[in-house]
């Protein structure tokens, strides 16, 4: 039973350094199912753990409790019909998912969307990033025993949801984009309210982060815990704040700009050690940067149309024309029944979502229905490091690790 572990934690190291135990007092390993219904496995992740005392000797994540077969469903419906399904991938940032999916199909159709549409999408994606990180931060705090953070962060998120509701008609499942545009223009005065939100949010964010950043308990629970090395993070295909926490400055908004991200100035925060604390710091800073982007978008919000004007077989005509003109009525009818007509080809588009890189690989054989649609979900890839990252850490650190990974099972299981 003399297993050697490499503990990052000093308490754990001391515990194993105990003198040899006589054979009759040797203990057996315990098998523990953590989840699928466990407060720290956010959603329905199940970790099948093998424990030696309090130390995890092996972890086997069991997925699929939320598997809906989204990719199969996508092959059986038109491109626009799939937009609501993208809401339910990372359901904490539906607007960012909507945008990634729409851009993927637009690349396939070689469709350029106007500047105003791009600005709306960037704006909503960054707001979604803030709301997702607020939830992630609150839940992380809750997992390691800091209750208050959640109360404040959810209050801020609620303000964002009010704005989302005003824009899209829904708080949670927004389904805001269409292929070639968005469902509707921004309401009057809405941009001003977004600006006002930013003004009051920044000081509030500092208050929220102040609850954790120099909090002794939080620091003890996270610094040096759940360290993911740079090499491991790359080998396991980690993306988003989890990869940047390990010191890799890969941010597709900078490296492969889409939807006009190249016009905006922002910094990409990276961690140094790759522990839970670094991932927390990265998320905190990303929210500040998102506010920076939002303010730049608001400052130069372009005029003009908000959906691609010259794509008759892809974008629905304006509603007033559908009701008065025969041609537009037919066009709308064909669009609804047969879907937007996308040329054959294949395309892979990745967007930098709050949780990491969300990719859509679409194979089209022409017509209104994708032939194959593969969703590369960041949470799935991020969680694949768990068997390695959980090895040899204490079970209470598993909770901190999971909280710092900030995953969503909706997109992991698809």
């Amino acid at each position: 039973m003399a297993t050697e572990y490499n503990f990052p934690d000093s308490a754990a190291r001391a515990a194993t350094a105990a003198p040899e135990v006589p054979a009759e007092f040797q203990t057996e390993k315990m098998s523990l199912a953590m989840g699928p219904s466990h407060p720290s496995t956010h959603g329905v992740l199940r970790l099948q753990l093998e424990l030696d005392g309090e130390t995890v000797t092996s972890a086997d994540p069991v997925l699929g409790y939320l598997h809906r077969g989204d990719e199969k469903i996508a092959e059986n419906m038109t491109y626009n019909q799939f937009v609501p399904y993208t809401d339910r991938l990372d359901y904490l940032a539906p607007l960012a998912n909507n945008m990634a999916y729409a851009i993927a199909v637009e690349r396939l159709a070689k469709l350029e969307v106007p500047a105003r549409c791009q600005a709306i999408r960037v704006l909503t994606a960054e707001m979604a990033r803030i709301s997702a990180h607020l939830m992630g931060l609150g839940a992380f705090g809750l997992d390691v025993g800091a209750w208050t953070v959640l109360l404040y962060s959810l209050e801020e998120r609620e303000k964002l949801y009010k704005l989302f509701e005003e824009l899209t008609g829904a708080r949670f499942t927004t389904s805001y984009t269409r292929i070639g545009g968005v469902t509707r223009d921004v309401p009057e005065g809405w941009l001003g309210r977004v600006g006002a939100f930013c003004d009051q949010f920044l000081p509030m964010l500092e208050e929220i982060l102040k609850l954790l950043t120099r909090n002794k308990i939080f620091m003890d629970r996270t610094i040096g815990v759940g360290v993911i090395s740079r090499a491991d993070a790359l080998a396991y295909g980690l993306t988003g704040p989890n990869l940047r926490g390990s010191g890799v400055a890969l941010d597709l908004r900078k490296d492969k700009p889409y939807s006009g991200y190249e016009q905006y100035e922002f910094d990409v925060p990276v961690g140094t050690t790759g522990d839970c604390y670094d991932r927390y710091l990265v998320r905190g800073e990303e929210m500040r940067q998102s506010v920076r982007i939002i303010r730049q978008v608001l400052a130069r919000f372009p005029d003009g149309p908000w959906c691609a004007p010259d794509a008759r077989r892809i974008v629905a005509p304006p509603k007033n024309k559908i009701l008065t003109s025969m041609e537009e009525l037919i066009q709308n009818f064909m669009l609804v029944t047969e879907g937007p007509q996308i040329p054959p080809g294949e395309v892979y588009f990745e967007a930098e979502n709050p949780k990491g890189v969300l990719g859509f690989f679409i194979v089209s054989r022409g017509g209104g229905v994708p032939y194959r649609l593969k969703i590369r979900s960041p949470s799935f890839c991020n969680l694949s490091i768990l068997p390695k990252a959980c090895q040899g850490i204490l079970i209470s650190d598993v909770v901190a690790l999971l909280g710092s990974m900030d995953f969503v099972m909706g997109e992991c299981d698809r």
Partner: protein, 216 residues
């Protein structure tokens, strides 16, 4: 840059052909070259992140029926991306591809998912079992010959099934709930739940008068 990359690779792997792609550089490779090609891309061209790995089912009877696709991303060269596709070997029922878990540890779950949903066997994978569906599930649901509505199967928990005599019943959605397939099936048949309003509070219950509308 993309033409450069492909011609450099072709000098080393003569059997590569450029793959038609709407966006990024993409190559078709024979299956035997895949592992060495991916290793070359990772070590010499800086594509150190396996972004995704999947397969496409070109429907029963097609030859080759399955194609595996690798999406590589570079963390050091900003935004560089390449896609590699290779037709699977093996039979139509049991396609085979080499595992790349030795190159990227993260390929583990991608290959398990691909095996689970499409039935591609990855040779050399250390632990090829289902990941999204449960162990013992008999089908590969993302194949083109698998119906969208699903197929009735045994419950995964044998003791529960023996006790209750239940099975996993397929979802009631022939053709999909909202899929327009003109002339084939009407919506009530396609989506039985659309007709069944017994669950609804709005439906009048026997012996119960509906509330009057209150005017302001």
């Amino acid at each position: 840059m993309s033409a450069d990359l492909i011609s450099t690779l072709q000098a080393r792997f003569p059997r590569l052909t450029p793959r038609p792609s709407g966006d990024h550089p993409a190559v078709n490779a024979p299956l035997e070259d895949v592992v060495s090609l991916l290793r070359c891309l990772r070590d010499e061209h800086g594509f150190d992140l396996l972004s995704d790995l999947t397969a496409i089912d070109w429907s029963p009877g097609a030859s080759p029926r399955f194609t595996v696709v690798y999406h590589l991303l570079s963390s050091s060269r900003a935004g560089a991306y390449v896609r590699v596709a290779a037709p699977c070997a093996g039979t139509e029922e049991a396609p085979v591809a080499p595992s790349v878990t030795s190159l990227w540890a993260g390929a583990d779950w991608h290959e398990r998912e691909c095996f689970d949903l499409l039935g591609v066997r990855f040779e050399g994978h250390p632990d090829l079992r289902r990941i999204l569906m449960w162990d013992g599930y008999p089908y590969h649901p993302l194949r083109k010959d698998f119906p969208l509505a699903g197929i009735e199967t045994e419950l995964p928990a044998e003791d529960v099934a023996a006790e209750t005599g239940t099975r996993v019943v397929a979802a009631p959605m022939a053709g999909g709930p909202f899929v327009a397939s003109p002339g084939e099936i009407n919506l009530t048949e396609a989506e039985p739940r659309a007709k069944d309003e017994s669950w609804s509070d709005c439906a009048p219950q026997p012996g119960h008068t509906p509330l009057r509308q209150v005017k302001e």
